[in-house]
Symmetry: C2
Subunit: 556 residues, 2 copies
């Protein structure tokens, strides 16, 4: 048994569970989201922190990649000094090496590749504390979120992609015998072989806010289907990618493959290399998370590649009627506050009839609904320690500036505040800005305002709210839609709307589940059917285009 096949044997039971989970879509994960000593080990926390600190003020080394420059411009949103340098590889030399490494990886077969991918995921899991610190100090996520979303939840999404791809590849038999009767004559008998053939080099373009969660699906979907993967990190969030790539390289090398099968191509914001890589004829797969402008550019120009994009959108909530406005407001306060609204799933547009809404305790005017949201958010963020542990820090100066710029776009219901982080004196912490606008100010609320900026939109009626949501999502896209109603007909109308504009719907969330959170193996992240994304994490379409089937046949 090869090393890779031994890895498959080790992880086969977990893979089998993953395969079952994507079918039943019940809660399941092999990677605990609790950063507990019991699960991760007595010293995991301290070791993770120490490992993170060992990268600071140093050069990050990766396996045998020819380099042309030394780059590094990460700035912690928490204000600590990072000063990490990374090798920038020569793109042509890197691609040539990866192409040379492709046949051995391809020919290792599905099980061997799955075994290696599962081992990488397990090692990533073991290193969750270290990765959490790296995610925290590049994205600005608070530690708990950096641990969960950057660690186990990202690993879940990676495993989900492995499971989907594995199932698809295994549907194709390696061999078949084809026997066609010929009446009284002997039958025609052909022996056939079917090969899973990767498309070529895969380029995964990571973003600055979720450098692991949004990267692992494309990385693992491409890798397990046989494609070497270049991860191009955002210059502002390199370390979590670098650690992940290094772990992948170690596992690949131990299993007897070229570690460069997973490589990182760091660059600088002054001299970006993404377009060069994206247009290289050898690059046949591209995964991208980021701006609509660049996503559209990739779709238009990288014609030699299958391009999977997640872009901007206007996530929306329609409030029609509620049982308990306080519970609803608490739920939405958390949604708006979490990671200061820097999730691709955070609500931006909240539609409320200007005539107000019904609740179990009587009617509330539009202004009362707006005030309830503002009050709940203020209360939720009243304790500064807790606030900072949820808000985290704002990743970029541009986002912090955007909050300022947007203040004049409507009537301020809740002003954004700067907060002093209890641990990091220079952390860039901001609370959400909530504005009231009228339905007719469509240009204002229908443009993505990335960051902690939300609009409460006064509409003529719930029907009007649903129609506006339909228009905006059709034009600008969305990953999440929420609806609050005690009326079954309104919920069905929202369901019909979600189907029409191809967006995931959450109904009446007023407890411990939030519209901006999705669970791997159960929730599909984006549908691929509206302008916010052309692919879904993860469905069959996300994996099936990463390989082709080549057959041969001969007489038996």
């Amino acid at each position: 048994m090869s090393d890779a096949q031994a890895l498959f044997a080790t992880h086969q039971a977990t893979l089998q569970q993953a395969l079952e989970a994507i079918q039943t879509r019940d809660y399941w994960t092999p990677y605990s989201e609790m950063p507990s000593k019991r699960i991760y080990g007595e010293n995991a926390e301290a070791e993770g922190k120490a490992a993170f600190e060992s990268y600071l003020n140093a050069r990050f080394e990766l396996a045998g990649v020819p380099e042309v420059a030394d780059v590094g411009e990460e700035a912690s949103p928490y204000g600590i000094e990072l000063n990490i340098r990374y090798p920038q590889p020569d793109p042509q030399a890197l691609i040539a090496r990866m192409q040379a490494a492709l046949p051995a990886w391809r020919d290792a077969g599905v099980d061997a590749r799955a075994g290696v991918c599962m081992e990488i995921l397990q090692r990533l899991n073991q290193r969750s504390f270290e990765i959490a610190h790296a995610v925290m100090h590049t994205t600005g996520q608070a530690f708990m979120m950096a641990f969960q979303a950057g660690g186990p939840h990202a690993q879940d999404r990676g495993l989900e992609a492995v499971a989907y791809a594995y199932a698809e590849m295994k549907k194709v038999p390696e061999n078949a015998t084809w026997t066609k009767p010929q009446g009284k004559n002997p039958p025609l008998v052909m022996h056939k072989r079917f090969h899973i053939v990767p498309r070529g080099i895969s380029l995964v373009i990571a973003c600055s806010t979720f450098p692991t969660w949004n990267t692992y699906p494309g990385l693992f979907a491409s890798l397990v289907t046989g494609n070497p993967v270049i991860v191009k990190p955002h210059p502002g969030a390199v370390l979590p990618v670098a650690i992940s790539v290094k772990i992948a390289q170690q596992v690949l090398e131990e299993a007897g493959f070229d570690p460069a099968l997973v490589s990182m191509a760091a660059d600088s914001s002054q001299a970006p290399i993404t377009k060069t890589l994206a247009l290289d004829p050898a690059v046949k797969l591209i995964d991208f998370t980021g701006s609509t402008a660049f996503g559209d550019w990739l779709e238009e120009n990288a014609r030699q590649a299958q391009v999977f994009t997640e872009k901007a959108g206007v996530n929306s909530i329609v409030i029609d009627s509620v049982q308990d406005m306080k519970a609803v407001a608490r739920n939405l306060a958390f949604t708006l506050s979490l990671y200061s609204g820097q999730m691709c799933t955070t609500t931006q547009a909240i539609y409320v009839p200007r005539t107000g809404i019904k609740t179990a305790e009587g009617s509330l005017s539009f202004d009362e609904v707006a005030q309830a949201l503002a009050t709940a958010t203020s209360k939720f963020l009243a304790d500064n320690d807790r606030a900072c542990a949820v808000l985290g820090a704002v990743q970029s100066c541009a986002t912090a500036e955007r909050i300022e710029q947007c203040t004049a776009l409507g009537e301020v219901v809740l002003a954004s505040e700067s907060r002093q982080h209890p641990e990091f004196a220079n952390a860039r912490v901001r609370t959400p800005l909530i504005l009231k606008v009228d339905a007719q100010d469509k240009a204002t609320y229908s443009e993505e305002r990335f960051g902690p900026i939300a609009f409460i939109i006064a509409t003529d009626s719930t029907e009007h709210s649903l129609n506006l949501a339909r228009e905006v999502i059709n034009e600008k896209g969305a990953i999440t839609l929420g609806v609050y109603s005690t009326d079954a007909q309104v919920l069905e109308a929202a369901e019909a709307l979600a189907i029409d504009v191809k967006v995931a719907l959450s109904c009446n969330l007023d407890g411990g589940v939030f519209v901006n959170q999705s669970a791997a193996f159960s929730d599909f992240h984006a549908t691929g059917g509206n302008p916010a994304a052309n692919a879904s994490l993860t469905d069959t379409a996300f994996v099936a285009r990463r390989f082709v089937i080549v057959q041969s046949r001969r007489h038996a």
Copy 2:
């Protein structure tokens, strides 16, 4: 039970067999390829011919499609008068009607749609004689081929697409309960619904040579996944599409759906409407078979749609060594002759070492190999009746003229002849042109020369042959590659080549299986991985992009 669900019940067992067949990839079909009375009924042949004749010199009526013109310019390659007129619908009105019909078709659900599709296929099967005559007199295929490739084999490919799409849609549960433990607190419990949502209007652009075989996969893959389908026939081969669409409309209407869910948009070669349809924002799926120029145009311009193309290529054979040259030559003579080389799978480039090849009976020089092919083809076509029954007629004047134009491209090994068809005095019948060229004349043999035109290419060695095949297929694409060798190492080198350039390989075909024929449920037609096609008939990637998954969730 709705009518559609009753249809599902009727056809469920056959669908189940199809689902098993695409996994085992053994020979299987529910549609007999033998045009026998025992299977199709005592009167099927006569009724089919009479039905075909009833269309001549008449107007073909389709269900409720608003029309803007009356078109019709088909000319039988057999020279008989057709004079059939078709309604040309107003594209905007057609699309509006289809969009209005979409929700009911979508909401009917997977089983209901599968039932309707299976019933359409069964009715198409029952009408195979009628369709055979329509295919014969538009494409020029000889009757037996028109029956098989235009009838049961096309139906097989339609059913294969239904089975693939059905399996993918059924992988997604309609409902799920998600229960996440919360330590000592009660678990979070969410009820989730998952909807299969079609992308929108599907446009299937048919070709003039295989108006059913190349149309049914896209048509049925789109229809069963919930997308209304417009078939845009080639102006030269409308009738087989019109009959197919009419049958689909009848089944849809009987099952309670708008018959316009499958519609035909005929046009004329003077005023084509394909580009207008392809760029319509409502058109989200496009299937195309035809020229590389137009396929590339669609891929470049129809950016709102998922585009599946089958384009030109240079199908190749490498001859290294053989057991029995006569058997090989007989096999290739049939391949080159069948439908006068007008198949997208017909061999064009035959690479042979200039130093000759080894056989079980001693060596043969390059010229002896070329002569063996010429002689076998001449002998095979010596009986004029048999020749015409295999050659059929040349679909277009352009193809007939191309044979003339290509005569000077090399040294003629076998000249193309015009033949007198025993039944149709004005049939355009041509035998294959076989030319000898040198490996260095790459521009000559590496351009697709559609029709009965083949090149025997003198190379330095088998290694040189394989390298040239690699270069040409990488640049121009291919759907088929054949290799003849008695050397296991050469066969493995050919297998490696096939994997690298992503083309289906046939080894040592010297009996009753031909490189240009593929069997549904077992052989993949095109890989989607080289320039000849960006999709495969049929793999998961061909169906999975035709729908998205929209979910909703709420507290249980």
